[in-house]
């Protein structure tokens, strides 16, 4: 199993993984204690303090309605994290299911699934996501679902490859020869041993889901105002680009830190799992 002591010890020694873990943990704390941490309510309008540059009162300045940018960034953390987790949950589930079926059963099913993957990869993913959103309408749930169903292909390919190779190992062959059911072999013998790369892919997947969500929200097709999201805060930054740089700078840094945290965690886990891959 991948969560054994050895695994934990090796990850504990990996500086990159630990740094990433700290960043992600920090974000979780921010999201969890948003009300305690934010100096102001995120939607408190203060017309006497419109577009104020960073000061001691408003550390990161205020926006067009005089709302505190820092507070809005803090409240955006939850949105970002939940979109990342739910979207990746969906894509991982889909990818593991299709990849496992395809790798385990092979044959026509495998061909069909892999063809489906090829077709999905032909669509510029941003086009596909935008098109679906245009048809079903923007909302945070729709975005999670759409990002999920347009980003499972990598996981499917990976899981298929793992299944193809693990299927041939002696202990799986032994289980087959003892007459174990397909479900038992898939879930008990193969899947646990394919877990590590799936975990890495999922962690990196969260990073890209956060990026996509912020892009969609920036274009106005994601999380809708007045709910704060880092992406839609940047839209305000763009609208006031000539006068208020702080509206553009800080929400983007929040995205950067989040994405880097997940990337570091994911790559750190990969390096500590498979020293051969270390660059």
């Amino acid at each position: 199993m991948f969560l054994n002591e050895d695994f934990v010890r090796r990850i504990g020694k990996n500086k990159m993984a630990m740094a990433g873990l700290c960043m992600v943990a920090f974000l979780f704390c921010v999201a969890l204690f948003e009300n305690e941490l934010a100096p102001y309510p995120p939607d408190r309008i203060d017309t006497s303090n419109i577009l104020a540059p960073p000061t001691y009162q408003h550390l990161l300045g205020t926006d067009v309605l005089g709302r505190d940018v820092l507070s809005r960034i803090i409240h955006g953390a939850g949105v970002s994290l939940s979109v990342g987790f739910v979207a990746v949950g969906i894509s991982t589930l889909l990818g593991v299911m299709l990849g496992a079926l395809s790798g385990y059963y092979g044959g026509a099913l495998d061909k069909a699934v892999m063809r489906f993957v090829d077709v999905m990869l032909c669509f510029p993913s941003f086009f596909l996501i935008l098109a679906v959103i245009a048809f079903i309408g923007p909302s945070i749930w729709n975005i999670m679902i759409v990002i999920g169903i347009t980003s499972w292909m990598g996981v499917a390919r990976l899981v298929r490859a793992e299944f193809l190779s693990i299927r041939e190992r002696d202990y799986v062959q032994a289980a087959i020869s003892q007459g174990a059911s397909d479900a038992r072999i898939i879930f008990l013998h193969i899947l646990p041993n394919a877990m590590a790369p799936i975990l890495v892919a999922a962690t990196l997947g969260i990073a890209s889901a956060v990026l996509i969500e912020s892009g969609l929200s920036f274009l106005g097709i994601g999380v809708q105002p007045p709910d704060p999201s880092w992406g839609n805060m940047l839209t305000e930054g763009k609208d006031n680009i000539e006068i208020a740089w702080w509206l553009s700078l800080f929400p983007g840094m929040a995205i950067l830190i989040t994405v880097m945290g997940y990337n570091m965690l994911g790559e750190g886990i990969r390096d500590s799992l498979d020293p051969r891959l270390r660059r």
Partner: protein
Amino acid sequence: MRFLVKRIALMIPTLIGITIISFTVMKMAPGDPTSLMTDLNPNMNEEAVKRIRAHYGLDQPWHVQYLKWLKNMAVLDFGRSFAPDNRPVIDKIAERIPITLFINILSMVLIFSVSIPIGVISAVKQNSMFDRVSSLIVFIGFAVPTFWLALLMMILFGVKLDWLPISGFRSLNFARLSPIGQVLDIGKHLVMPIFVSAFGGLAGMSRYMRSNMLEVIRQDYITTARAKGLDERTVIFKHAFRNALLPVITLLGLSVPGLIGGSVIFETIFAIPGMGQLFYQSVMMRDYPTIMGILVIGAALTLVGNLLADILYSWADPRIRVND
């Protein structure tokens, strides 16, 4: 030649798959396209809605609708735009494609000419200062949202320094400029969009090139070449570099959808009248025929990009032709 025919034949099922998925996306809409015309019209009654639905074939079973739609697709008939101009979708797309392709091709040239040397030097001088710094920059580059980068560049180069224009494709006085002035004008407008659209690729390609090169340097034939007493230059450039470059060709094909998809973001930010901006506008207006048209054409362009990469690869690496 046989290779080429085979590759093109393989594209057909993929193309059909693309149309099936696009059709499914279209059918996801709650209600149907006619509701856009009928909902706000007080003169509509049950009978008229029925007639419109029949006119568009929406009363037929879905597979009949799909085949009909496919038949139109085959002759690039995407219908008329729902936008006020009501023009044929294909015309609207056709006039937008050149600029999007132009920017994407230039950004691809930029990606290759910058990231290949970076990747090679990083690999050859592994763990050197250059390698460490460039790896760090690449790592950060992966996490930078391109639209944020665009905003920061606009603030720095457009607003603070006032060196570059922050929107559009040409200046207002474009027609009155001399030919050289016109080229310079377009160039100035495109500096930031091209850099922004290339940015993600720069990080990815540098890293890919570096790991390829590291992989190749470890191979036996490199050890052999060194053992023969060849000087390091020849070993790196003649033996290692050429082999490390091969997989990059595949990445060329794979990066097409990302570049085209990314055009939505940078064209919207910089107000460049390309396909990405048209797509964004259509999404905002729920101009379904145009959305469908761009979705299918975007995927088809990707397919063509992959085909070109395959051809290039088989030309560069004879082993592929033999094995296939």
